[in-house]
Structure formats: C-alpha cells, structure tokens
C-alpha cells in the first residue's frame, strides 16, 4: 500500500510539472495547448541525445532540454499562436492550431527520431529502503527532488518577482495589465517559453527512468488535460493537486485493476466533472 502511494507520488510530481505548463498557457493566453505532451516528448529526446548518446552529464542534458524547449515555446508563440490570435479571438481557432501543431510535431518526431522506444543509463544506481516493504530507487528519489525544487521555484517566482506579478496580472485581466505598462506581447512569449520549459524538464526526467518514444505526445496531452480538469483550469495550486492526484490514481489503478486503470479513471472523471465541473480549485 505504502509502495503504491510512493510510486503514485513519484509520477505525480512529474505530472504536476506538465500540468503547470498547460495551465499557465491556458490562463495567460486562453489557449488550450493540445501540443503540450509533444513538448514533453521533445524534452525526453533532447535528454536521450545529450545524456544517452553523447554521454554528457545528466545536469547538462536537463539544462539542454529546458533551454531547447524554452526556445521551441518562443517559436510556437511567434510563428503560430500570435499570428492566429491577432486575426481571430475564437477559441476554436487556437484549438485547431494547437491540434495541428501537435500533429506536425508527431510527424517530425517520427522523421527525425524514428519509432524506437529510447532509454538511457540510470543516473544513480541503488535503491533506498524507506521501510521493510517500501523501496524507492535513487534515480526516482532524484527525480522527486528535482521536480519538487522546480515547482517550488516556479511558485516563488510567480508570487514574489516583478516578472511573475506581471504574468499573474496578465492572466487575471489582460487589458488592465496593458494599462499598467505590461508589454503583453513580450510577456506572452515569456509565458510560452516558461510553460514549454516546464514540459521539457519533466520529459528530461521521465526519459531517465522510463524512456521515451515518438508516439507518447498525444497520450500525455490527454493526461495533462485530465490533471487540469481535476484540479481546476488556470489555477497553479489546482495543477499541482491535479498532477499528484492523477499520479496516485494511476498507481492504485495499475496495482488493483491492472490494464483497466484508465477505464476506471475516466469513469471516475466523468462522474466527478458532472458533480463539480470547475474542478477542485477552479474559479467561477
């Protein structure tokens, strides 16, 4: 039981990173980024090449994944989303655009990275023994520590820096933020970079334990949406709770209903949303 919970928390902290990025883009731009899972996959592949193939230290791979994805996030905004948002404020336009972007990335991944599932050597070997029957490999301990550190850093950044304040203001009232002197174009770009970077870091960590393949993106986007629906869209704490909850549900599901865990999760989600459509911590 304790082991199942620990495994759930391990997935959960990584999921929280993904959900944070998705909810950030949603609250800043009102864009449902269906390509968010693909960003995560790209982070995984960058790590595979830098750490697995080139053999550079894992920290370097982590940084490379973060930076690469931040740049991809910037390009997403400049090349695609900004142009469409300037012409059409309708939600469907950006949803279609995001879906198209996801398909584009999926195809590029297949072309450049192939279809094989790629793994990398473990970062740290050994297993931590928490109690008599609860074990946690050190490689997973490391991931939990890094994930929690990134989440804490993100929260502090949003809460206490001028830049974070600008982003929050923009999410709450874009026009008022403009009147305060926030350059909303620049901050949108920054928001995209930040969100993509979070996805990239999560992908980098995942590859070190479970590996990565070109087809994972869509499934991860769906998972990210489940987390945001559980926690409530556009709320930082909601994304974190949604991520942790999905991780734990998944872990319990796969030990008690192996193979059918997502059937159970989806049924539970439908019932939950019927009762509480805005999620646990969502507004209005």
């Amino acid at each position: 039981m304790g082991q199942v919970l620990i495994n759930g928390l391990y997935s959960g902290v990584q999921y929280a990173l993904i959900a944070l990025g998705l909810t950030l883009i949603f609250s800043l731009m009102n864009v449902m980024n269906f390509a968010h899972g693909q960003l995560y996959v790209l982070g995984g592949f960058v790590t595979y090449y830098v750490y697995g193939v080139l053999g550079l230290p894992f920290v370097v791979a982590l940084l490379a994944a973060g930076i690469t994805l931040a740049v991809v996030g910037l390009l997403f905004d400049i090349l695609f989303f900004r142009k469409v948002l300037a012409r059409s404020a309708r939600d469907e336009s950006t949803m279609l655009l995001a879906t198209g972007t996801a398909l584009l990335l999926d195809s590029l991944f297949i072309i450049f990275f192939g279809e094989k599932h790629r793994g990398v050597p473990t970062v740290i070997s050994g297993v931590m023994r928490i109690s008599n029957n609860i074990f946690l490999p050190y490689s997973r301990v490391l991931i939990i520590i890094i994930s929690v550190a990134v989440i804490v850093f993100f929260i502090l950044f949003m809460k206490y820096t001028r830049c974070g304040r600008g982003l929050r203001a923009m999410a709450q009232d874009r026009e008022a933020a403009k009147l305060m002197g926030v350059n909303v174009d620049r901050y949108s770009m920054f928001g995209w970079a930040l969100a993509a970077m979070l996805a990239g870091l999560a992908g980098a960590m995942l590859v070190s334990v479970s590996g990565v393949n070109s087809g994972l993106g869509t499934w991860l986007s769906i998972k990210a949406f489940i987390m945001v629906m559980i926690g409530g869209a556009g709320v930082i704490s909601g994304a974190i709770i949604g991520g942790l909850m999905l991780g734990i549900l998944e872990s319990f599901g796969s030990s008690f209903l192996p193979g059918n865990q997502y059937l159970a999760i989806f049924i539970a989600l439908i019932i939950f949303l019927a009762i509480r459509p805005r999620g646990l911590l969502g507004r209005q």
Binding site: R165, G166, R168, A169, A176, M180, N183, R283
Partner: protein, 256 residues
C-alpha cells in the same frame, strides 16, 4: 501657447463603425477637464485611443511635446499618461498590495515606489487596512479607491479616470471626488475625468467637453455648463439620477 495635452481631430473605427469622429480636446498642465455625455457617445473610445488600447484611424495625439498616438500602451504609461479604466478592472485574485505594485510596474526605483505607496495610503487610508486582502473581495467603492491608488503608483503626470463613480455608493462618490481634487491640487497631476454623473464631473473640473454620437458638441467652462439647462436636457438626459450603490456592500470585505 502649445498645449500640454491635445487630440487633433482624431477618429476611431471598429471595423466599419465610426465610434469617434473629428474629436479635438486640449488642456494645459495642472488642469482638470471633464468629458461628459450619454452612454455610447464615444467617451470611452476616445480614452482607449489616448491610452493606446485602440488605434486611431485619423488625427494625432500629443502629450508634453511628444506625439503618442503611434506608441504602444506601455510606452504611453512610461511617458506619464495613466488611465483608471471603466469598471475598475482590479486584479481580483491579487492582494491590494500586489495590485498597487502592479501600478508601479515600470518603475525600477524601489524606495521611490514605497514612498508613492505611503502617499496613496494618506489619500486612501482604507487601503492600508486591506493590504493583504484579495482585491476582488472588496466593495465597489473600495475597489475604485484601489484602482485610483494603483494608477497613482505609476506617478502619472496626466491621470485619466473613466467613470470613477459608476457602481459606487454615494458616500464613496464624495470621497472619490475629494480625492480627485486632492490629486490635482496637491500632487500636481493633470486630470481628464469622464463621467455619466455629469454633475460631479462639472463641479470638480474647470472646463468640459460634451460628447454625443462620437463628436464633441459643446465645449465650455464647467460652471457655465452646470447652469445650462439646454445642455443638461439635450445631451445628458432630463434628470440626473442619483447614483445607485451596486457595490457588494461592506460586509463582503470581512470574508478574510
């Protein structure tokens, strides 16, 4: 004499609809002018043009010797023009303190920002009591004071207020009117006041422009307009209704 602030025959269009046409307004440094007129007369569109939220399709806007109509909104704030928008637009989930700090977004000198915040507290002592409360949970009048304070945090030289009495309890309207006079006289900020509550606006301004269907139709001394029955009847509606309190009420503030 050159004007401190001036719009020269500006025009604003939304797609094909002409919202503002041929509007020329000017003021000297230190003046308080009013822009009045019924709903839909083009007041808000004029302000959106001045603050860079909406592009003008013809004309020019000048402030303190610089042409500002091609500038993005953040550059206009930097130049010294700040607006309190209609409907307040607080950042509802942020604390009063963070809202005020947002007002000083473009100012890098932290000590000077703190000093301005103290001045805002002198003007609106209530804000100091509510510093850590989420702005969205305050009453309409308190929110209005906060957004005026937030605008002052930018240290503007020209302050534009769009309908500051809308949705505010009568008691607060008096306090806000006093604050505007105070800001103009003591803080040496020039003020453009836009109001449907024309009586309040005419009392505290020196000159006023009356707008109707996107144009300036009358431009005169405020005290003369205040006494002019024809203007009141023709453009501002027969009777001036007392303003209703549509604020949330004081008890809402006790939630936290």
């Amino acid at each position: 004499m050159t004007n401190y602030f001036e719009t020269k025959r500006i025009e604003v269009r939304y797609d094909r609809v002409l919202a503002v046409s041929n509007v020329s307004i000017h003021m000297q440094e230190g003046e308080t002018i009013a822009l009045i007129g019924a709903n839909g007369s083009g007041k808000t569109s004029t302000l959106r043009a001045i603050t860079g939220l909406t592009a003008i399709s013809a004309g020019e806007i000048w402030f303190d010797g610089r042409r500002i109509d091609k500038m993005p909104s953040d550059a206009i704030v930097q130049a010294g023009v700040t607006m309190v928008p209609e409907g307040r637009h607080v950042f509802p989930l942020m604390s009063v303190k963070d809202n005020l700090l947002m007002g000083a977004f473009l100012r890098r000198d932290k000590a000077a920002v703190q000093e301005t915040m103290q001045r805002v507290f002198t003007l609106f002592p209530r804000l100091k009591e509510r510093l850590n409360q989420a702005a969205g949970t305050m009453s309409g009048g308190e929110q209005q004071m906060m957004v005026i304070g937030r605008a002052l945090m930018a240290k503007p030289r020209l302050l534009i207020l769009d309908e500051p009495s809308l949705g505010v309890a009568p008691l607060f309207v008096q306090e806000i009117a006093r604050a505007i006079v105070n800001i103009n006289k003591n803080e040496k900020v020039s003020v453009i006041l836009v109001e449907q509550n024309s009586r309040m606006a005419l009392r505290i301004s020196t000159r006023a422009y009356v707008m109707s269907i996107g144009r300036v139709v009358v431009n005169d001394q405020s005290r003369r307009l205040l006494l002019d029955d024809r203007v009141q009847k023709a453009y501002l509606g027969e009777e001036l209704q007392p303003i209703e309190d549509v604020g949330e009420g004081d008890d809402k503030g006790k939630l936290d």
